[in-house]
Symmetry: C2
Subunit: 133 residues, 2 copies
Amino acid sequence: MTPQRLMIVEAVENSTNHIGADEIYSEVVAKYPNVNVSTVYRTLELLEQLGLVTKTDLGGGRVVYHPVDKGHHHHLVCKECGATIDLDESVLSSLKDSLLRQYQFVADLRHLGIQGVCVNCRQHASQKPAESK
Amino acid sequence: MTPQRLMIVEAVENSTNHIGADEIYSEVVAKYPNVNVSTVYRTLELLEQLGLVTKTDLGGGRVVYHPVDKGHHHHLVCKECGATIDLDESVLSSLKDSLLRQYQFVADLRHLGIQGVCVNCRQHASQKPAESK
DNA sequence: GTATCTGCAAATCCTTTGCAAGTCA
DNA sequence: TGACTTGCAAAGGATTTGCAGATAC
């Protein structure tokens, strides 16, 4: 209902798929110089509660936000270069099913970040010894 | 090689399966009052580099350590009660395979924390509406 | 004896909070 | 008006770092 909120919502909606609080902040500040980070965090929290935005902890202190209406996806996070690769929701649906069956655990995979090494870094890894099997 | 390092290693090894830096710290301080947190962090980093210990980011700022020689497992983390359920490594092996095939991504699932809601909290959830599908 | 490790304190980083002032309907 | 929202600045928690002194081998 306030201009700053609108800009924050806009920033999240405009993001291709996910965006960090800091990025949102810089984007908003660019147009509206005296917004404050706390407003960004407060608004994001609100949007999350309203179910408009999903918050994902990618691990390593990286937290990103994503508009719900753009569909869900998962993230592969490269430990080497930090790249994040989006994964369609369907890829993990069987995992979700088996966790439910075997553990009665309702997994919220929308909040999932899978660590690993991406193609590019694997190729460049000829220089450094491979880390994990 | 130093007493403090030995105690830290011991604390990690004694943990059933995973333990946080803060827990390690308190455990060590109990026996050796003037160790410092920074020593704990420095030692854990060292142990990780040596490949003796695995560091897992469970999300939500929770980071735990686990001795490599005790076998790997994954974690289901309940958003409601915070419980962590251990998952055998085999459960996700097919996931690992398909990520490798489809995305050429080498997933390091040892560092995986899956968010969701556990059995207990689902049962108690009769009070509050279910969150995710 | 020398390189390494430690404790301490201060510094980060990211996020949250208290509060008084400002804004929306 | 009256509740809600903001900015600011300070507080937080977790982890890291610089540095001088202490320790291991």
